[in-house]
């Protein structure tokens, strides 16, 4: 879909960025020492830090991705919410305080605090870098996809804007300003989403006006008379569509819902029930919508409506409470718009967005989306895949380097604990809001069928343009905040862990900050490049990757270090390495990767299911135990 540029959105956005940069320069003047740069002088108040946790965590994947997934596929987006939040329990109950006791600035410090081992330094730093990069990619891709529809600029400019802004922030002030960016972002996000939810509940549920996109037989025949039928070629032959082309070039694509297997070769009389769908194809580099070039007058129309409310209501329900909202939705019929790509005989690919009415009750239980549909089947492997993903989400949160780093910005252990709780509260409230947001978007009639990530902002737009501008700007600062946290973690890994501690490059405090800034710039550039390269990838998929890797590489080492006395340096190094390589390898060899990345037949893959966590996390633990038992305990380094 094309979007009109909104000057209000641009204005508000620039305003936000200006404030953030301003804060950054101001606070940057204070952060000259490395302690200040990396750990924000250890003086951040726990409440601020807690909301900053939330800001860090509620990245594009949470806000845009989960809302979008709920809007398009129902309950399954909520599964991510549950998994993500549950991970915080691991963080709080297992990790929070022990970590604060241990290290100075980074994840590698914490692991190494008892050993002073080059092996640990190296593997921990590499792990931090790898996970940060995998988490960075979806954020940059998200930034690009936000900018394109919002401001009318191409994808790479969105990536560039985020990259440059964040690098500027990080290079000038490091941790302090990123903490404030996260804090501002976290508060704003929760607040405005709350406002949106109130508006959704107030509007209630409505039935869409009589859908002109459905036809009966006589209307279809009249229509067909004025156009001519396109002969199905290639994959079209097996699909239930009829395409009619009209003299002006417009193509109307009709899908029959009964006796569909006949339609490719059959006659018009075989159709019993059908709807007009929307198509997008690319010809000679130009995008065609329904056969004609995409323009303001010829574009995909917004979707996402209810076709039938439960008994007792005819047109609209009026204001509803949250429980009533869900219950009413449960009993309604909603028109969803999945898509399929069809190749014709010449190799041209057309993506058809077709209507699929579904019962609310179908959408409000796990397994409604294509990603998780396996849960409802009897396929054990698919169920294991689901369990594995839930495990990865659960374990991954506590092991993410950019989250861990935030533990060091508070004064003491009690503060670390309290800030985690504030974080959990903010995030928990937010996820409950996103459930209603997603469902509201599903029925808002404002969804863009081609773009899952825009569901939340478009929902806002259906209420008010101003709200749309604000929410879009917040979504953007969402990405700003998370990316700055990631670059911090990464630059810490390079400057502090690798250069200063491992290679023992001579540097005083100021030099360390200096190298940190260079590393941050380098990472910023790398992130921009990758964000552009991977621009067509599914954001949630990449985030799932990052979680799997973090959980497999980092968590076993962290947990065992904190709780098992016989852990040795070599054990830790080995566990991190094995966890990292096995999860990476598993993912790169999985069926999903074969299909989406290399475009090879997925059946060639030997991996039974896509999410490695179920296998690689235990593997990490096992490795650590075995290697530790075998190697001797080193005498602890003098601190």
């Amino acid at each position: 879909m094309l979007y009109t540029t909104s000057p209000a959105a641009i204005g508000i956005f620039l305003f936000f960025v200006a404030i953030v940069l301003g804060l950054s320069f101001y606070l940057g003047r204070r952060a000259r020492s490395s302690r200040g740069y990396y750990a924000a002088h250890g003086q951040i108040h726990w409440a601020v830090n807690g909301v900053a946790f939330a800001g860090d965590y509620l990245s594009a994947a949470s806000f845009l991705g989960i809302c979008g997934m709920i809007a398009f596929s129902g309950y399954d987006g909520f599964l991510y919410s549950i998994g993500f939040l549950a991970g915080w329990i691991v963080a709080l109950f297992v990790i929070a305080e022990p970590i604060k006791r241990l290290g100075k600035f980074t994840f590698a410090d914490a692991l190494d605090s008892a050993f002073d081992s080059p092996g640990i330094k190296l593997t921990a730093a590499i792990s931090t870098l790898v996970v940060s990069i995998f988490y960075l990619i979806p954020q940059m891709v998200g930034a690009g996809s936000l900018i394109t529809p919002l401001l009318g600029l191409p994808h790479w400019s969105g990536v560039l804007i985020v990259g440059v802004t964040v690098t500027l922030i990080v290079v000038t002030a490091g941790m302090v300003s990123t903490t404030w960016v996260q804090f501002i972002k976290g508060s704003l996000l929760v607040f405005f989403c709350f406002v949106l939810v109130m508006m959704i509940l107030n509007r209630g549920l409505l039935v869409a006006p009589a859908d002109p996109q459905t036809l009966d037989l006589s209307t279809l025949e009249a229509l067909a008379a004025s156009g001519h039928r396109i002969e199905p070629t290639g994959e079209w032959k097996t699909k239930p569509y009829i395409r009619l082309q009209f003299p002006d070039g417009k193509v109307v694509t009709i899908r029959g819902t009964k006796r569909s297997d006949l339609i490719g070769r059959g006659h018009l009389d075989d159709i019993v029930d059908f709807e007009i769908e929307q198509t997008v194809s690319v010809k000679n580099g130009k995008k065609l919508v329904n056969g004609l070039p995409q323009s303001a007058d010829n574009d995909l129309h917004p979707v996402g409506t209810i076709s039938k409310l439960p008994d007792g209501w005819v047109r609209s329900t009026g204001p509803l409470g949250p429980a009533e909202f869900i219950k009413t939705l449960n009993g309604s019929t909603i028109v969803t718009w999945p898509s399929e790509a069809i190749k014709d005989g010449d190799g041209n690919v057309t993506t058809v967005y077709y209507q699929k009415p579904r019962q609310g009750s179908d959408l409000l239980t796990p397994g409604a989306s294509s990603t998780f549909a396996g849960v409802r089947s009897n396929d054990v492997m698919k169920k294991l895949d689901f369990l594995s993903l839930m495990l990865a989400l659960f374990c991954g949160t506590a092991a993410l380097p950019h989250i861990l780093i935030r533990y060091y910005t508070v004064k003491d252990q009690a503060s670390a604990r309290k800030s985690t709780i504030v974080g959990i509260a903010s995030i928990g409230v937010f996820y409950m809001l996103t459930l209603i947001l997603g469902l509201g978007a599903m029925t808002s009639g404002a969804l863009d069928p081609t773009n899952v990530n825009m569901a939340a902002p478009l929902l806002a737009k259906s209420f008010s343009n101003i709200l749309f501008a604000i929410i879009s700007a917040i979504a953007f600062t969402t990405v700003l905040g998370t990316v700055s946290g990631l670059i911090m973690a990464g630059s810490g890994a390079v400057a502090h862990d690798l250069l200063a501690n491992l290679f023992r490059v001579e540097m005083d405090d100021h030099k360390q900050v200096f190298y940190g800034k260079i590393a941050a710039t380098g990472l910023g550039i790398l992130a921009m490049v990758l964000g552009i390269v991977f621009k067509d990838f599914n954001v949630a998929f990449l985030v799932g990757w990052a979680f799997n890797i973090a959980a497999s590489a980092n968590l076993p080492a962290l947990v065992m270090l904190l709780f098992w006395k016989r852990t040795t340096a070599k054990g830790i190094a080995a566990a991190v390495t094995v966890g990292l390589l096995s999860s990476l390898g598993w993912i790169l060899l999985s069926q999903q990767c074969y299909k989406d990345v290399y475009h090879i037949d997925p059946k060639l893959s030997v991996i039974p299911f896509s999410q490695p966590a179920l296998v690689t996390i235990p593997l990490g633990f096992l490795t650590l135990v075995l290697v530790s038992l075998v190697t001797k305990q080193r005498s602890p380094a003098k601190s």
Binding site: A414, G428, Y431
Partner: protein, 66 residues
């Protein structure tokens, strides 16, 4: 630590139910007629908050007794 185990049990329960008995998840509960899947999911979030809060109280008292 016990709190953690409690939560893990709840979470596991959810995972297994969802994976192996999807029909049960669809049944409406007495809670305003909302189905089990949503109630359980929201419940997990609320449980996290509650447990976290309990944890603070427990730790505070543990810290104040020398």
């Amino acid at each position: 630590m016990i709190l953690f185990v409690i939560y893990v049990a709840l979470y596991l329960g959810f995972m297994i139910l969802a994976a192996f008995d999807p029909e049960l998840m669809a049944k409406p509960t007495p809670l305003a007629g909302v189905n089990l899947a949503i109630v359980y999911g929201v419940g997990l979030i609320v449980a996290a908050l509650v447990l976290a809060f309990v944890y603070t109280l427990v730790s505070k008292s543990a810290e104040s007794t020398p």
